[in-house]
């Protein structure tokens, strides 16, 4: 038996599942037409509830052909349900997985469409920042037009709103400032659009662990130099160096689409000169032999001119045509499977984890977490001062001494008696003298 939501929407299938909830394809039993329902599960706390309600608030004020229309909104038990227009088609991510990459003119057309949609969002009062632009959130419809879905990360009033401090976005697409200060503005969406355009043109996901974002012309020389510059400007680390608005970016993209006859002509002339030099060298080598060469003239002066032309062609190529090869592919990841149950997820994940830890430490969260635990935190260090893990049952080998550190911030108020007790393999107990410690205020 199929599940029915709000006595009206019959669940057909699951479209997507994420951390915040599930999106179902449903049939509106009253109107007999499909719709998409986003069910946010387990929103027990007020903050989670407020976060979901915010998406509704953002969406209900918007009206644009490239955005999904909100049809209904209701709560069923602990679940919050948002009924939206069902958009039929495939995501850009699926399209890229099937065809590798997008044709140049199509990629530019879609990027221009995205600038229009995002420009509309930014022009609202207060501005709506999308914050999570990525191929998985872009739907391609049967007629080739694109639409944005999933406004879970979007928020209104980016400027001057102190409350919005959540780290939202997708690594690789999210602008650096989104991770560093949790502050996202119009420039963050411009950065994400640059990242999406780069992926459309090269087929390389910025989420690939080993792929750094290289200029697009290193992958395909047929991409105009202007477009490479546009992507470069969009994806600059400093937000103030990026385009200031979506309108400015759209103008730059439209300028790239116009054919540059002058540049094409220069390309053909430069390549033509190189080929003429090679042809001249070949002819100067072959023709004398066809007419007959005296034994005294071989190898010199017979081969003087051919060698000169070959040298000139080589030098010309090295100087002017070195960067004009049409295909200069670097590494493109086609498939990646890594399956393990190893608990420690690896050095790359460890780096990301370390970044998060350092961010948490900067915010003073780590200290407060230890204080809340109610336990005295003792750090053990080896001879060289390196911190060691205090895991129960672990054997540590040492040849000189072990140092125990008690960070003063973890000390409780008042006087503290401390003594060390050690037990060997046979059960014999060794105790140190008792020390009294008091935290200095």
């Amino acid at each position: 038996m199929k599940q029915i939501l709000c006595n009206k929407y019959e669940v057909q299938k699951t479209i997507a599942e994420g951390g915040m909830g599930v999106v179902y394809l449903v049939k509106d039993l009253h109107l007999d037409k499909p719709a998409a329902v986003k069910v946010s599960k387990n929103a027990k706390s007020e903050s989670e509830r407020a976060y979901i309600l915010k998406e509704v608030e953002v969406l209900k004020k918007l009206s644009h052909p490239s955005l999904p229309a909100v049809i209904d909104f209701f709560q069923e038990g602990e679940n919050i349900c948002l009924v939206m227009e069902y958009i039929e088609g495939i995501t850009l991510k699926e399209h890229l997985a099937r065809s590798g990459r997008v044709q140049l003119h199509q990629a530019v057309r879609w990027a221009v469409e995205l600038t229009r949609t995002l420009g509309y969002l930014h022009s609202r009062n207060p501005p709506v920042i999308y914050r999570d632009l990525k191929p998985a959130n872009i739907m391609i419809q049967a007629d080739g037009t694109i639409r944005l879905v999933d406004f879970g990360a979007a928020f209104a009033g980016a400027y001057g709103q102190e409350g919005e401090q959540l780290l939202v976005g997708t690594p690789g697409y999210g602008a650096p400032e989104q991770w560093q200060s949790a502050g996202a503005g119009k420039e963050s969406d411009i950065y994400a659009l640059g990242a999406v355009l780069h992926e459309m043109l090269t087929g390389i996901s910025p989420q690939s662990r080993f792929m750094e974002r290289r200029p697009v012309r290193e992958y395909d020389k047929s991409i105009p130099r202007e477009l490479e510059k546009v992507i470069g400007v969009c994806t600059r680390r400093n937000p103030s160096e990026r385009y200031r608005s979506m309108e400015q970016l759209r103008e730059a993209l439209l300028n790239c689409g116009r054919k540059k006859w002058g540049e094409q002509l220069r390309f053909f002339i430069r390549r033509g000169v190189g080929r003429l030099l090679v042809l001249a060298a070949v002819l100067r080598t072959i023709l004398p032999f066809l007419q007959g060469v005296k034994a005294a003239d071989f190898p010199f002066p017979c081969l003087e001119m051919p060698l000169f032309y070959f040298g000139a062609a080589f030098a010309y190529r090295a100087l002017f045509l070195r960067n004009m090869r049409e295909r200069k592919v670097r590494v493109r990841q086609e498939k990646s499977v890594f399956l393990t149950q190893k608990k420690f997820p690896g050095i790359y994940v460890a780096c990301i984890f370390a970044l998060f830890l350092s961010a948490a430490a900067a915010a003073g969260k780590s200290a407060s977490a230890r204080e809340d635990s109610g336990k005295l935190w003792v750090e053990m260090r080896d001879d060289e001062g390196r911190k060691m893990l205090l895991r129960e049952g672990t054997v540590y080998r040492t040849d000189k001494r072990i140092r125990f550190d008690i960070p003063a911030r973890d000390m409780p108020e008042g006087e503290l008696a401390l003594w060390l007790m050690a037990r060997d393999e046979k059960g014999a107990v060794y105790e140190s003298r008792v020390f009294l410690i008091e935290k200095e205020n």
Partner: protein, 246 residues
Amino acid sequence: MRLVSGVYWDKGRREENQDSLVLEQVYTRGGRVLLAAVSDGIGGLPEGETASGFIVEMLLETFYHQALSLIERGKGKRALERCLLRCFFETNQLLNQYAQGKGIRLGATVSVLLIWRRNYLVAHLGDSRIYRLSRHQRIRQLTQDHSDGGNGLLKCLGSFPYQRPDLSAGRIRGKAGFLLCSDGFFRCLDKSTIAEILRVEETEGEEQIGKRLKELAGLGIRQGETDNSTALYVRCGTQSGRRRFG
């Protein structure tokens, strides 16, 4: 060269899966390059999954940071062999350090296959296997089991003195398939069954490969196999199925 691949990874009736696998396929200026590796943690020792996971992680790092640049620069199999040997040696040292710190012993088998420009290179330690399948259901075991016939392993990678892996190389002519599997996958199967189900002429798509690997694993389970089961199949075609990039 067209490469199609699929994987099977299941913990069987054990509580945890101590096998790890990696499959990376990239397109470079030097053509398509593929790294496939299967590692099986030693069951009798603790943290088998850590050992196998760490080994494939090290292989992955070596592949991207060293092997690919060697292939791009047109280096031959000698250079790649040295690169893999270095990786094995470093992994052995790091596992030794890890085991010393925790006061345990751990280890895993490892079978690696590297394919580039119709060449292949195999590095192997332990009792996992690599089979080569060719047309007309011909199958050949490329690796030699480093075991005493029972459960005892004679060679492995872990917190033990360094043991040099077996290295072999060859050239791929026409259509061919490579199956990398852990002992839990092949123990209850004979070569002819594997060759019959994974026919080179019939395995064209990834989904098909996945289904056939599952079918083979199912045969093993029906015959009483309880161990972790991992398999990875790579089929090398003769021509490119898609337009070249760029």
